[in-house]
Amino acid sequence: MLFGLLVLLLCQFFGELIVRYLEWPFPGPVVGMVLLLVGLMINGGVPTGVRQASEGLLTYLALLFVPAGVGLMVHYQLIAADGIVIITTLIVSTAVTLLVTGLVLNKLAAKHIDEAEHE
């Protein structure tokens, strides 16, 4: 478990390092995720400790978003002024995005989906 946590932190650390050094526009943890994936592919399996640590964190993924979300209270005035526009946009645009993505993937991947169902 501790070993797993260390592996996750090291991947994040090197992810941050690469992003800062090469001035890439995305955050370190995402690059860290790619590093860990490559590491697991080279290793040919997931070490028990890494699996335990990752399952532990992913179980509580939703909780980890709370502190950033409380930050909405800082923007009370802008939200009050453009509230209707913001909420309408969020609902309509999210629905359209789900619709387009779901239909495109369902159509393009139909062959693989059928195969998976027969397995």
């Binding site: 590093l35 978003f65 309408t88």
Partner: protein
């Protein structure tokens, strides 16, 4: 009495209070969500945020003071993002088989999310800051904040709206899959991860590990591609 007030000053300055409040609010919110039959309208994260904002307002603590303690929970988002590589590795074979359909679906999803947002906000007469803060709404919050900063929105407003988008996606997604007869867990997961990032991923893990793995993949892929595509879209449209 004097002792009690010094104690209070000490407690509100240490991280214990913010962390305990965050965990308690999340537990209460999860309980409320269960009592409401797991309705995504009362998403635990949104209810927990509302409870904490109410509590902080009540005791007169500002966001900076709260975040000084709560940052220890916030920090775990980093390793949790890295951890998404594990379910992804478990389902690598399916990801490889579906590689091109996934990339095409991802780019269409990103463009749909950005263009519909810009058209809707501008059509309804929202301010320029609102347009730019909302454009990265389907992108996972750390990347979305970076994009908002780059194109001229408010990063902290974006972070909050990204969460609201996530909760909305969790409500609409399952209804839409039913209406469109989309049953495959990999398609459901990928769609949820693209439109509703971490929230969609957390919800997909509750459906199945295949759905969760594809949601995590969609979240990472959408984040990385958006970081390149969105600044170009905004520049091209001259927003």
């Amino acid at each position: 009495m004097n002792d009690l007030s010094t104690l209070w000053v000490y407690l509100s300055a240490s991280p214990i209070m913010s962390i305990a409040v965050t965990l308690a609010a999340f537990l209460i919110a999860s309980k409320i969500n269960r009592l409401a039959g797991g309705s995504a309208f009362l998403h635990p994260v949104i209810v927990a945020i509302a409870l904490i904002v109410a509590f902080l307002t009540l005791i007169g603590m500002n966001y900076q003071q709260y975040f000084e303690g709560a940052q220890f929970i916030h920090f775990l988002l980093g390793p949790a993002t890295v951890a998404l590589a594990v379910p992804l590795y478990d389902h690598l074979e399916r990801v490889k088989q579906m590689f091109w359909p996934l990339i095409i679906a991802c780019v269409s999803g990103i463009l749909t999310a950005a263009l519909s947002t810009i058209a809707l906000v501008m059509g309804m007469g929202g301010s320029r800051e609102t347009v730019l803060s909302l454009t990265p709404k389907s992108v996972t919050s750390p990347i979305a904040m970076g994009i908002a900063e780059k194109i001229g929105g408010y990063p902290s407003l974006t972070a909050g709206l990204v969460l609201v988008t996530g909760a909305i996606g969790c409500v609409i997604g399952p209804l839409l899959f039913k209406a469109l007869n989309i049953k495959d867990h990999s398609v459901q997961g990928f769609t949820m991860g693209l439109a509703a990032h971490g929230f969609g991923t957390a919800q997909s893990f509750a459906v199945s590990s295949v759905a969760g793995a594809f949601a995590g993949l969609a979240m990472g892929l959408t984040g990385m591609l958006s970081a390149f595509i969105l600044p170009l879209v905004v520049r091209f449209l001259g927003v």
